[in-house]
């Protein structure tokens, strides 16, 4: 789960990390009022849950009184990577000398939280990682110790030479780690972290992502969620035990297991087709799931054929078959269906499907090819 920059900075503030003075605005009028209050210059920043706002023209510096309504008007309603800008942040312009990057995330290799810091802040950190990997300092945090004062100091010494900044940094990094742990984050970033004219560290931007598996214990974070329509569909699916991601093709897919689902999409592409969705019906054998899954697939009007690829482990094939029969009975399915069923109770499952006169193939490859054929 992602949240907006202003929400991340509100959390930072609660932990006493200094952030820019700023106001969230939904209209041009609000933006003008905010700029009046904060004083010029201000930065107008699109608040969308997508990266690369700057490149897309979603961040502008307003120097004059006229700039504010003009820029706010331009950015509000703008489309950035499929997200419509519905709110903007009016942030006080700050004079600063240097820009740093600091961030926390999970490191799969050390199986720990890792702190990343770079004096090359202000740009996409992925680009720094590619062009100049040595410019990113990485510190693995021992899970038993957490962010100790000495580690925080060590990081700060790696970034700053002025001891006054080192002290501020060490304090800030410890707070940032506490935020990460307290909120079950998967990513916490400040980019850029700047040194103001007064010699103070300040978070100019903020980013936080969260572990979806931990939201059950993070109700305050979950309350910040603003899913898009596509995401709402995905969330709705998730509540039904399904993982659904809409894609652009015409072959609807119903598969059990993420890996097999991915391999199914790969196979469809390999044989020249275009999948309409990723849909993992997961590891249980509830007939209702198949009905929900079929409804979900057919809600996409691009779907011209449905390919069902089930390999039974925890999911029993007979349950899938039974669910399918019930589903087809309840929903009017006007597109052809290709079914491939193997694994636990596959015999019983195939038996059931045969009775219902559904087209059955033996292998994944056959299923994909058949689906592509039926699509034409």
């Amino acid at each position: 789960m992602k949240i907006h920059e202003y929400q991340a900075k509100e959390i930072f503030s609660r932990y006493l990390i200094p952030v820019t003075n700023e106001v969230v605005c939904y209209t041009v009028e609000e933006a003008v009022a905010a700029a009046d209050k904060l004083g010029l210059p201000v930065v107008v920043k699109a608040q969308v849950l997508a990266g690369g706002r700057g490149k897309a023209g979603g961040v502008k510096l307003a120097r004059t009184k006229q700039d504010v309504p003009e820029m706010a008007g331009k950015i509000l309603g703008m489309d950035i990577k499929g997200y419509t800008v519905e709110k903007i942040l009016i942030a006080q312009g700050v004079k600063f000398s240097s820009e740093f990057y600091v961030g926390l995330t999970i490191d799969r290799n050390s199986k720990s939280v890792i702190f990343m810091a770079s004096s090359e802040g202000g740009v996409e950190i992925e680009e720094v990682a590619k062009d100049n990997p040595d410019a990113i300092h990485k510190f693995v945090i021992d899970p038993d110790l957490g962010m100790t004062p000495f580690l925080a100091r060590k990081i700060a010494f790696a970034l700053f030479s002025d001891f006054n900044l080192v002290k501020q940094g060490a304090d800030l990094f410890q707070k940032l780690y506490r935020i990460f742990m307290d909120t079950d984050s998967s990513l916490v970033e400040i980019n850029p972290l700047v040194i103001t004219e007064e010699g103070k560290l300040l978070a100019l931007d903020g980013k936080m992502n969260f572990d979806d598996n931990a939201l059950f214990r993070q109700s305050a974070i979950e309350a910040l969620n603003e899913p898009t329509e596509d995401e709402l569909k995905e969330i709705d699916a998730k509540e039904k035990g399904l993982t659904y991601i809409r894609l652009d093709g015409s072959i609807g897919c119903m598969v059990n297991g993420a890996g097999l689902a991915m391999a199914t999409l790969d196979l469809i592409k390999y044989f020249g087709g275009e999948p309409a969705n990723f849909l993992d019906i997961g590891g249980s054998s509830n007939p209702q799931k198949v009905i929900d899954a079929m409804n979900l697939i057919l809600s996409d009007k691009n779907v011209k054929v449905v390919m069902i690829n089930i390999f039974g482990g925890i999911t029993r094939c007979d349950d899938v078959a039974r669910g399918l029969i019930i589903a087809l009975d309840k929903i009017k399915v006007e597109v052809p269906i290709v079914v491939r069923l193997s694994g636990t109770n596959s015999k019983e499952g195939l038996e059931i499907l045969k009775e219902a006169n559904l087209p059955i193939v033996e292998t994944m490859s056959q299923a994909a090819q058949k689906a592509i054929e039926l699509c034409k």
């Binding site: 999970i106 799969r108 079950d184 297991g257 990723f278």
Partner: protein, 289 residues
């Protein structure tokens, strides 16, 4: 021989009175796995499918001598169940539970290292040494005893691969589903080494996914330490960037962790990579000659 589980495995089922736990305890027992006990706090003294149930792992280990445990408890209790098994001296823990918070696993790991406990999972289908022991939710009937060691980040895709192998008469020494979570137990490197050291294993199949750099690291490890032939497959070749594909692991962001890069890394060190799952049996036959 085989790796990790075999006829000496004495299995405990944590969460045995739950829906999945009881179902699979029965399945594993039916396969021939030596399921010596189950754990379910408050249900101690009862039985499930003839398997005695205990209140704590410690009591179960004391009574049964269990050396392996499989975990079916709900996700938010899984980390505690893993720790309980480790504390009680269980040497190998298989965590099936799906949806375990990542930071729970981060906190568990140092303790397992300290106690020398091996973990597989969470969010994994378990493992099987055909005709010896099935410890997981895999469909036993599709496996065939033989000489191919298999490891995979995906569940059903593993079955698909095994099905292809078995259909072609190629048996398996041990098949391990390592799970797709960001922080998990035994991974490619450890398992590659175990298969390398296992005399029964003649060739290795590695099934990867997009996301992370585990496959790239595996490729490097193979070059440095593995002399047995390895064949690979990477799922997610067609996945659009930035989309999360069910497994926490399977997410591509800004040009790292793509299938293309992983395939390149394997091919660079001489590991053959199947384009589609059905190519695996042929590749295995080639390398085993």
């Amino acid at each position: 021989m085989s790796i990790l589980v075999n006829q000496n495995t004495k299995l405990l089922v944590q969460g045995i009175t739950g829906r999945d736990g009881s179902f699979h305890a029965g399945k594993m027992k039916a396969y021939g796995t030596n399921v010596v006990g189950g754990v379910s706090p408050g249900k101690g003294g009862s039985t499930v499918d003839g398997i005695p149930v205990f209140n704590t792992v410690e009591a179960a280990v004391k009574a049964t001598g269990a050396n392996t445990s499989i975990i079916f408890v709900p996700a938010h209790l899984a980390a505690d169940a893993i720790l309980e098994a480790s504390e009680a001296g269980i040497g190998l823990v298989i965590a099936i539970s799906e949806g375990v918070p990542t930071l729970d696993m981060v906190k568990v790991m140092p303790y397992l290292a300290k106690k020398g406990t091996k973990l597989i999972g969470p969010n994994c289908p378990g493992l099987i040494s055909p005709d010896e022991a099935l410890v997981g939710i895999l469909p036993g009937n599709i496996f065939l005893k033989g000489n191919v060691g298999l490891m995979s980040r995906s569940g059903t895709l593993t079955y698909e691969m095994v099905y292809q192998l078995t259909s072609n008469g190629i048996g398996q020494s041990t098949c391990v589903g390592i799970g797709g979570d960001p922080v998990a137990g035994l991974y490619y490197l450890e398992l590659l080494q175990m298969f390398q050291d296992d005399p029964e294993t003649k060739a290795i199949v590695l099934i990867g996914e997009i996301g992370g750099d585990a496959e790239e690291r595996a490729a490097q490890y193979i070059q440095e330490h593995i002399t047995k032939p390895v064949v690979a497959f990477i799922a997610g070749q067609s996945a659009p960037p930035g989309k999360r594909m069910g497994h926490a692991g399977a997410i591509i962001s800004s040009g790292s962790g793509t299938a293309e890069e992983k395939i390149k890394a394997f091919e660079k060190v001489g590991v053959k990579v199947a384009k589609i799952p059905s190519e695996i049996p042929d590749l295995i036959k080639q390398v085993m000659e």
